[in-house]
């Protein structure tokens, strides 16, 4: 079966089993390996992509049901691969370690910050409930997110 997918603004064709999870189509067929299939249960957040702007675990979305929507993967963020303000803050604060969870973190936080540009610490933590990080212990990621724009924030 052929599925036409609109990914990062381009039409891409996928020939294969429509039950294939979207994450495998991204990684194996389209070689967009930024999304990581870490748990395949929707609990880790590492495969998060935006489907019509909504953060979605791409491990739980069959390719056959992904047509007709605008899919954005980590590779589609930023102009020509330049860093977004969020990515820049994460780089500047040196919060990355192994890095496997960060594409998913960025995809979760990007629409969150667009909707809520001035979040509290607690709100950032709530937004990250579905993004697990095994290396960093989270707090410095949250410091970095709160540092964007260097605004004073209440905890």
């Amino acid at each position: 079966m052929t599925v036409m997918l609109r990914i990062n603004g381009e039409e891409r064709a996928f020939y294969g089993d429509p039950m294939t999870p979207l994450v495998d189509v991204l990684r194996e067929t389209l070689l967009l390996t930024g999304a990581k299939a870490v748990c395949r249960e929707g609990f880790c957040g590492a495969c998060t992509v935006l489907i019509d702007g909504v953060p979605t675990p791409s491990c739980l979305k069959p390719a056959g049901l992904s047509g007709g929507a605008e899919i954005t993967s980590i590779e589609g963020l930023g102009i020509e691969g330049e860093l977004t303000a969020l990515q820049q803050a994460l780089e500047d604060n040196d919060v990355v370690q192994c890095g496997m969870c960060f594409p998913g973190m960025v995809m979760t936080l990007t629409p969150f910050l667009a909707a809520k540009p001035d979040p509290t610490r607690e709100e950032v933590k709530q937004a990250l409930v579905g993004n697990i990080c095994r290396c960093t212990g989270y707090e410095r990621i949250i410091d970095a997110v709160l540092s964007i724009g260097n605004k004073e924030r209440t905890p």
Binding site: M19, R40, L60, P62, L65, V129, G130
Partner: protein, 287 residues
């Protein structure tokens, strides 16, 4: 070991198409809504070949209609959509909290109300006890037309109701009640609750409980009402301590299920505390 299962996908565009596909494909076919359960079949070591009939795109299953008498929720409504729609609806806090706190934000964008109810194997569903305490009814569509079944009845007769039918809508009556949803994940958030108490109370002028519907989820394999506590509390103007005491007296009617995440005794043991939390939340709220 088992060979990997063959799984095919059929996309239904209407309820009729979905029911026809279901009839045609036979017993190893099932409806595919949000996919958050089905896409994890491998993890549950389910190796049978399956036909999946996608119902997520059927317009008749979408949408939430809030009128003065009831709230009608389309089966393919996601948890996130439901949580957003209910923020201002008086008396629906139990359902709003259940939809807003279940699993994690991304799952809430995918998982549907209908899937939460129809997935018999998912004991930790948040919406089921919440809908139960609000006396929801379910509307099914089948070859023989529409059928409306109280959720409470459905939970006891699930296997008799489901074959040949598709869940289309939930109808939740609007009544002057207060409700609350107390869930207990083992972490702060992000995992499934090991026990849930959802409650709705009708309070009289003097603050006495005229009627209570209290539902317990995740403790047993299926959610059900805590009738002994409902009876015990009726007519009282209870304090938190009273609720805890009555809950302790009556929790024995539950047989906790043993699971990898928590033993059965624990699920029962925390019920009085969850009853207290639900009660305090409900008592603090004026509407």
């Amino acid at each position: 070991m088992h060979p990997p299962a063959k799984r095919s996908l059929h996309i239904a565009r209407s309820v009729t198409e979905a029911l026809e596909a279901r009839a045609r494909l036979g017993d190893n076919a099932e409806f595919f809504a949000g996919g958050t359960w089905i896409m994890r079949a491998d993890r549950r070591e389910e190796f049978e070949d399956r036909h999946y009939i996608s119902i997520g795109g059927i317009e008749a299953l979408a949408g939430i209609l809030i009128s003065k008498d009831d709230v009608v929720i389309g089966a393919s409504t996601s948890h996130a959509e439901l949580a957003a729609a209910l923020t201002e609806v008086a008396g629906f806090r139990a359902l709003q909290v259940a939809a807003e706190k279940s699993a994690n934000p991304a799952i809430r964008n995918l998982a549907t109300v209908g899937g939460n109810i129809c997935t018999g194997g998912f004991a930790a569903a948040d919406l089921v006890p919440a809908l139960l305490c609000l006396s929801a009814s379910l509307e099914f569509s089948g070859a023989d037309g529409l059928e409306r079944v109280p959720l409470e009845t459905f939970l006891k007769t699930r296997s008799a109701v489901l074959p040949g039918r598709i869940l289309t809508r939930m109808i939740v009556p609007r009544r002057p009640r207060r409700s609350a949803h107390a869930r207990l994940p083992l972490k702060k958030a992000g995992d499934y609750p090991v026990a849930i108490v959802s409650a709705s109370f009708a309070l009289g002028e003097n603050g006495a409980v005229e009627d209570a519907v209290i539902a317990v989820g995740s403790v047993e394999h299926s959610a059900r009402r805590w009738t002994a506590l409902e009876t015990a509390i009726r007519g009282l103007r209870p304090t938190s301590a009273d609720v805890v005491a009555l809950a302790k007296e009556t929790a024995g009617e539950f047989q906790g299920r043993d699971g990898v995440e928590a033993p059965g005794w624990y699920r029962v043991k925390v019920l009085p505390e969850l009853a207290r939390r639900a009660f305090e939340d409900l008592a603090e709220r004026k509407v």
